[in-house]
Point group: C2
Chain length 320, copies 2
DNA sequence: ATAAATATGTCAACCGGTTGACATATTTAT
DNA sequence: ATAAATATGTCAACCGGTTGACATATTTAT
């Protein structure tokens, strides 16, 4: 037996197609008894209206595509969680796309999302040079990521966070502060943290060096800098690795080495609460991203492209 | 200007609708020149075929609904990551549903997924008594969760894991081993870990007690058990809390107190590698779940309902 | 030279809903 | 008593594709 359709419900309830449609969409006049009959018929038949058919006609799917590298990460996992929650609250569903940092996957996902007629996209994937972002007129919001000139970005104050982290280590007495960051070539806003570190150090006339996360960068950093006494890691996972390596080398944190991370996601704070970190307002970032997207979806013309930058916060732990 | 449709492509390429459709679906005979013309027209118009319209006709969406409490958790974040990857590899998209442990949300999501005509559902949410699972004839797989008699379950060997964890603590010399687990009433397979703990202790004629994660259970556990020297926590997050509280109380881990967790998700192992834990094969669980789902989706009749139980592994850290 | 294969077209029905126009009957308000 | 509001129906077009039947023209194989 096939899935029941609107016509089956109408027959069962002894009313016309139009009447069932009216009940479903709450349009026009419907009598109480009729409404109940229709609902009863839907229940008896285990009927669920076909959203695909509806979407086709109304040209709206109430689906938002969400493209990020992975959910398997404290920061993205939390961000995606909140994105989904805010979307759900507004009646939108989320199509999850893990790009895994691969440009080909991101491109394929973007095409898929367009084909699937999503109402909008929230993206924070890694790759540049994807022209679809340029060409697309679809509502899009970037989270912590520049995608195209006309696409608004939600991020937290990466530069300020970088300054806070660096100054914090200096305030705590560090003389040789090193920084670890992703590859410069990725052109992410995380580079602002690096700029902030380097400019702050320069300004204080202290030596500085940034290690990029390639190869065995942590060992190399320790080997090349015997006097190291402070590390600003551009995310908490890296900070955890640094602490582990330091312990392995017999250095005590925070006595001999102070370490500050970045992100301050819920799961990190549960598992590693002693880590000093710069906390990004992840939930608020998700909220703003959804808000900006809905502005674009609902405003017919002229959605104001205003980038949003949210404040970060230093969480003092026991590693600095 | 509206989105281009098939007819626009046909006009642009100077061919018929049918020909464009043939190119799109690779059906029947198509000449090389025509194919190229059509592809050129699609590119020029920035055309993406409307999957919604296609889905309606072929009665297949290539969408899988994925219902779990949250992505904001090392275990689920990783599981969902792999689920998405395996689905993507097979040409299926993932609709993400975070039930947040709320029955009403789970129910609403299930209805939504049916309406959206998803081809199948993979669920590991918390609530029982949702009759939709019983009634539904849709392909469904439960991960670590009983949903209905006819729905296959993928899980890891929770009982064995519980035995391994308990015996490990005893082997390491613990005399007073306590267990922390979620509420029994949730009826999750994690209860098997509890059973394993209790039966193992009973068999060794050692005193045992399980604390459920309600209220200030950790403080209570320590207060009520001054001789406590071992804790088997039913997940790693709880284990992290236990270690923290122990340190706060001046107990040294593992000298005075040995702690073993459960799950061994990637992120936990990165942030807290020193934790001894029972590692679930999360990626393999995702793989099996997708495999079982595809079996149901593709087999017309008589999909064999075989539950899958995968082996767990003890990861020796420094907390035991 | 002829049949088969290849290439493309026209046409109409269909997927499962929504919507507007219009008709008709009944109930409610003044 | 009469107009307006309420309740329901019929009908047809539409959303943007797919598909099968059939026609016709050209190319390829024997």
């Amino acid at each position: 037996m096939d899935k029941p359709k609107l016509a089956d419900v109408a027959e069962r309830a002894g009313v016309s197609l139009t009447t069932v449609s009216r009940v479903l969409n709450n349009r026009g006049y419907i009598g109480d008894k009729t409404r109940k009959k229709v609902h009863a018929a839907m229940k008896e038949l285990n009927y669920y209206p076909n959203e695909i058919a509806r979407s086709l006609f109304i040209k709206k799917t109430y689906i938002v595509g969400v493209i990020f590298p992975t959910t398997n990460n404290p920061f993205y996992g939390q961000l995606i969680y909140h994105l989904e929650n805010f979307c759900e609250a507004l009646g939108y569903k989320v199509l999850l796309c893990n790009s895994g940092g691969r440009e080909d996957k991101e491109r394929a996902y973007l095409e898929m999302l367009q084909s699937h007629q999503v109402d909008g996209i929230i993206a924070g994937a890694h790759n540049r040079g994807i022209d679809i972002y340029q060409r697309s007129k679809m509502p899009i919001v970037g989270v912590d990521r520049y995608l195209a000139d006309h696409i608004p970005i939600v991020s937290s104050d990466n530069y300020r966070g970088g300054v806070m982290a660096t100054e914090h280590l200096i305030d705590r007495g560090c003389k040789h502060v090193l920084h670890i960051n992703g590859q410069l070539s990725l052109e992410t806003p995380a580079n602002l943290r690096r700029n902030a570190y380097e400019e702050t150090m320069k300004q204080k006339k202290m030596p500085y060096q940034t290690y990029e996360t390639v190869g065995d960068y942590i060992s190399r950093m320790f080997d090349e800098n015997p006097k190291i006494d402070g590390v600003f890691a551009s995310d908490d996972l890296i900070a955890a690795r640094v602490i582990r390596e330091a312990n392995k080398r017999g250095m005590r944190v925070p006595e001999n080495l102070k370490v500050i991370g970045y992100d301050g996601a819920d799961m990190t704070r549960m598992l590693l609460p002693e880590l000093t970190t710069i906390k990004q307002p992840i939930k608020e970032m998700a909220e703003e991203a959804v808000r900006l997207l809905m502005n674009q979806i609902n405003e017919v013309e002229n959605p104001t492209v205003a980038n949003i930058t949210l404040p970060v916060q230093l969480i003092q732990g026991k590693t600095t």
